[in-house]
Subunit: 121 residues, 2 copies
DNA sequence: ATATCATATGAGTAGTTACTCATATGTATC
DNA sequence: GATACATATGAGTAACTACTCATATGATAT
């Protein structure tokens, strides 16, 4: 005989209803979760990590960032747009040059915390 | 007439050779960059953020996590594997149940730092 | 204005990812 | 043993992403 369509959800009841309820009370609203994961996601790419690290040291133009990373200016420019959209970097125009720097102290903290984690592995 | 094939790299020379050299000295080795961005990337997904948050509050079984998030057990299990592979979570087996918890204090710090950043926007 | 150069951006694409669905594994209970 | 259930996992897929290439913008210099 065929087993009835198994729903891939928990059967009958919670394993520990109290714990689940307790966590549910503390869980953050969806938009914050999204914002948080978006923030981490921006740092979740090696090219952007390099850019952020570089900018945490010096204000740099697109051209020098590209030289530093050994990639194309186009690739850097695309990633800078991502960082700009997330307000992680700021820029200053001077003639045809555009100088980028980190916009946000928090991001530096977050980045450094991540670095500390990696250094201690 | 056709312009010669433009290389999308910086022409002639650095804009600021000194700054680039200074940053280059401090830049981290490739494997650390990769590890760092991988760590951020793991937290760069809303489902995993929710799981990590939940586990930062309570040790939970797969089933209860799924209930809490309102997703399938399969989806949770797949994401737990990702978290396991990155050594962010630990698990304890008890019969057919598997209880997950955060493995690493650092990750909690990193997560909290991100949360602080988001809370202050 | 014409040419040159720094940067930005759109289209296209190869690679990745997070899910669903089906199935497997492993444990407890009958 | 057989069944039931918790979890894990493989295949397949739709959505996304980071790049390349071509082109656009906008500034400086001739």
């Amino acid at each position: 005989m065929k087993s009835k369509l198994k729903k891939d959800t928990c059967e009958i009841t919670y394993v520990d209803r109290k714990k689940v309820a307790s966590v549910r009370k503390k869980i953050k609203p969806e938009y914050k979760i999204q914002l948080l994961s978006d923030t981490f996601k921006v740092l979740g790419d090696p090219t952007r990590v390099k850019i952020v690290f570089a900018l945490s040291q010096e204000e740099l133009c697109v051209c020098d960032i590209a030289k530093l990373l050994g990639t194309t200016k186009s690739a850097v420019s695309h990633q800078l747009r991502v960082l700009r959209n997330m307000r992680l970097v700021r820029y200053r125009k001077n003639g045809k040059m555009v100088y980028y720097s980190l916009d946000d102290e928090h991001i530096k903290n977050l980045f450094d915390e991540g670095l500390r984690h990696v250094e201690e592995l």
